[in-house]
């Protein structure tokens, strides 16, 4: 409990002139945490703490020569007291981060100021990591990371900045931070599929990846392959996909030789039942292709375009549309052009088929654009493929016709035969081996049409 004496001395009464003792005292006062769930209690005290915190924020912003060694532990203590807490469990087990409104932190009026204060403290010109590292240690970082699971996006945003600054200034903590983030992600992907702070952590990672030295350390490459790629499989991907894609592209810009494992990884985890995710994957893939080197492109073009060929045929029009739009990308077009003899045969059949079969007229129009582009790219190959496609279709039609005629003949035969006697072993017609019906997707083993025995 705090003793509130009337006429508190303002911290910044003499602007800029440090008052170290007062500073420490106010820090200690702010260690008391109030219960905001009870909205009516301690209103005066809460207001007092709020204004004190405000003072502290101003103080570290404008003062010079205020930071003594004694201040460090007090600062960290005050911040710890305020922010480190057990997060309330989610309102319901079914909290869907994509749909539901998050539960906001009730003590935000104080909490925000504490975060604000801490960030300015860390960013202060007088801040010395060599002193601070005694108090901002692994234990502190661990507790900080746990807070990233807060449902309150404002808190996560502040935490993001805090952790970013800590990573930047505390060289000795970097490996530890990376390892812990790694663990959080792995737990997220393989155990819980629940963590609210993935986007924020990825954003921090983006700025770290951006700063990687070359050649890339093996640890970083493993992180890409073992953590970032599997992150794509999570159901709630839409919440952090933008940040994840950014990280991936940054990696590839640092080391283009990673292109093949990345794309193979994406293809391996390609969404099979969720069209929204497919659209996201296509977006990310286009971003990757935007920066891909031609030599890398050649290595993965076959499996890549086999997948694109499937996307283009998707009955979900958004997926088809997004895939077809690749042909509006100049750089991708130039890559396709250089390798049209490989890519065109892969794409041709699906493009031709959907130009006839797709239900969506907008898709049909886009397919025309793509086919026309291919036609101009490699006319002779296009002609060959058209001829082959046509003759294949002719042959199929002929087979279908023959099949239909055969069935008809059999039906006629059956009518001529006398009806089968009621015996479990008789058949009116001998068994014919494997005549698949025209549109039978099952095993198609033909059996007699004798009436079922009672």
């Amino acid at each position: 409990s705090v003793s509130c004496s009337k006429g508190q001395v303002p911290l910044t009464s003499a602007l800029g002139i440090p008052q170290p003792e007062l500073f420490l005292k106010k820090l200690q006062q702010c260690c008391t945490v109030f219960d905001f769930m009870d909205t009516l209690s301690d209103l005066k005290m809460k207001e007092y703490k709020r204004s004190t915190l405000n003072e502290l924020v101003d103080y570290v912003t404008i003062s010079r020569g205020y930071l003594t060694e004694q201040a460090y532990p007090e600062v960290v203590k005050m911040v710890s007291h305020n922010i480190f807490r057990t997060l309330p469990p989610s309102d319901s087990n079914e909290f869907d981060p994509e749909e539901d409104e998050p539960t906001l932190e009730a003590s935000w009026p104080h909490l925000q100021l504490v975060y604000e204060f801490f960030i300015r403290f860390l960013e202060s010109q007088e801040f010395q990591p060599s002193i601070a590292k005694k108090y901002i240690d692994q234990k502190f970082v661990l507790q900080l990371l746990e807070l990233f699971d807060s449902e309150d996006p404002r808190e996560r945003d502040y935490l993001k900045t805090v952790l970013h600054r800590i990573y930047g200034k505390f060289l000795g903590l970097r490996a530890f931070i990376r390892k812990q983030i790694n663990n959080i992600f792995l737990r997220f992907v393989y155990e819980t599929e629940h963590f609210n702070g993935v986007a924020e952590l990825l954003e921090i990672l983006g700025s770290i990846i951006n700063g990687f030295a070359l050649p890339l350390k093996a640890e970083h490459k493993q992180f890409l392959v073992k953590v970032l790629i599997p992150l794509h499989t999570v159901r709630s991907l839409s919440l952090f996909h933008a940040q994840l894609a950014y990280c991936i592209v940054q990696f590839l810009e640092k080391d283009p030789t990673l292109t093949e494992p990345v794309i193979r990884g994406l293809l391996k985890f390609w969404p099979k039942t969720c069209s929204q995710k497919e659209v996201m994957f296509l977006g990310e893939l286009e971003e990757i292709l935007d920066v891909i080197e031609p030599t890398q492109f050649v290595k993965i073009q076959e499996p890549l375009f086999k997948q694109i060929s499937r996307c283009v045929s998707s009955p979900h029009f958004q997926v088809a549309e997004r895939a077809l739009y690749y042909w509006n990308n100049e750089y991708i077009m130039s890559l396709i052009e250089e390798n049209s003899s490989v890519i065109l045969p892969i794409m041709f059949a699906s493009l031709y088929r959907i130009s006839k079969e797709h239900w969506n007229p907008a898709i049909v129009a886009l397919v025309y654009n793509v086919l026309k582009a291919f036609m101009e790219m490699n006319s002779t190959l296009f002609d060959e493929l058209t001829a082959t496609y046509k003759s294949d279709r002719q042959r199929e039609k002929k087979k279908e016709k023959e099949r239909e005629e055969l069935w008809k003949k059999l039906e006629d035969l059956e009518l001529k035969q006398s009806p089968a006697p009621r015996s479990s072993h008789s058949h009116s017609l001998p068994l014919q081996p494997c005549l698949p019906r025209a549109r039978d997707t099952g095993c198609g083993l033909w059996t007699s049409t004798a009436p079922l025995v009672s």
Binding site: L186, G283, E287, S379
Partner: protein, 328 residues
């Protein structure tokens, strides 16, 4: 059809082909025209578009060839403004398809217009069709190079049936299509153009006995050597251009890419500048904690591909998750 009847039919078509040649003076005007009028280039581009549409809608080569015949004859006769060119060409295609394709395979006019990304309406198209029909006194199919190509092909096979597999009519048709995309060939007599194509293919197959048959045809129709030679050279040059990669740079109007609103919103939504400043990795980072597991993760790039999701090794992978992971 037996050889005699084929030769007779050949003669009949040979006599009729003159009626279907575009006016040479008209063609010359187009070839020498500049911007503001229909040029050779714009005619060629239009014909290429016609081919794209033919191919897309699954129309036969016959429809295409008929359409080009109508188009060239019309352009050589009438002074058409460039802005009407696409309407004229599309109406030629529609007319040609109507007399060539099965009713069930015909694409309705508005679909043609939509896919062709044209700016006029179906009634505009209908009116233009009437004009073309009237001016050309269009009743039925023209005698074209394709007519002769098909006849020559049949004649060759009756004399050399064992060649059925190698002398491909489809390939010849594709080559004819390539030639028709250049206005220079509109001046050629169809019988000569077809023969030049036939001989070109026979030469590439290195078949002396087939070339013998082509001589026979030439003599039968009394086609002068010089004329055949001239067009053979043009054909050879055109086919070699067609097959070369130089052909692949389209430089006419850009196609429209219309996407749905939702897709348009998603496009480029990721390209946002990150707010957090970059944190450079320093070489001093090496001296950090021992558990960074670098010494184990020295596997080369090749293993990255194969090890994808296949193992849960190394200190990088916390113990308690390994079991889970392997079970996943």
């Amino acid at each position: 059809m037996d050889a005699v009847r084929l030769m007779k039919e050949l003669r009949v078509n040979y006599e009729q082909e003159v009626d279907f040649l575009p006016r040479e003076a008209g063609l010359d005007l187009i070839v020498s025209a500049h911007g503001g009028q229909i040029t050779a280039r714009s005619r060629d581009v239009t014909v290429e578009d016609l081919w794209s549409l033919t191919s897309f809608f699954g129309y036969s080569t016959q429809s295409f060839v008929q359409a080009v015949s109508l188009l060239d004859r019309f352009l050589a006769m009438m002074r058409v403004q460039p802005k009407h060119l696409s309407c004229v060409s599309l109406s030629c295609l529609h007319l040609a398809a109507r007399v060539t394709e099965e009713e069930c395979d015909l694409t309705p006019a508005d679909e043609l217009i939509r896919i062709g990304q044209c700016r006029f309406t179906a009634s505009d198209l209908g009116r233009m069709e009437k004009i073309v029909t009237e001016k050309l006194r269009f009743k039925s199919k023209a005698v074209t190079a394709l007519t002769f190509l098909q006849l020559y092909h049949q004649i060759t096979l009756t004399h050399a049936t064992y060649r059925k597999e190698t002398l491909s009519l489809e390939k010849l048709e594709a080559q004819l299509k390539a030639c028709l995309c250049r206005i220079a060939f509109s001046k050629a007599k169809p019988s000569v153009l077809a023969l030049a194509l036939l001989r070109q293919e026979m030469k590439s197959l290195q078949s002396e006995d087939m070339l013998e048959i082509s001589f026979h045809i030439q003599r039968h129709l009394k086609i002068p050597d010089a004329e055949l030679q001239l067009w053979s050279e043009w054909v050879a040059r055109r086919l070699s251009d067609y097959a070369s990669p130089k052909c692949s740079k389209p430089n006419h109007r850009k196609l429209q890419w219309i996407v749905s609103r939702r897709t348009a919103q998603n496009l480029h939504s990721h390209r946002s500048v990150p707010e957090l400043p970059t944190i450079p990795e320093g070489c001093w980072d090496e001296s950090e904690s021992e558990d960074s597991g670098e010494d184990v993760m020295s596997s080369g790039d090749e293993s990255l591909c194969s090890s994808l999701g296949s193992d849960a090794e190394g200190p990088f992978f916390p113990l308690h998750l390994r079991r889970q992971y392997l079970a996943a």
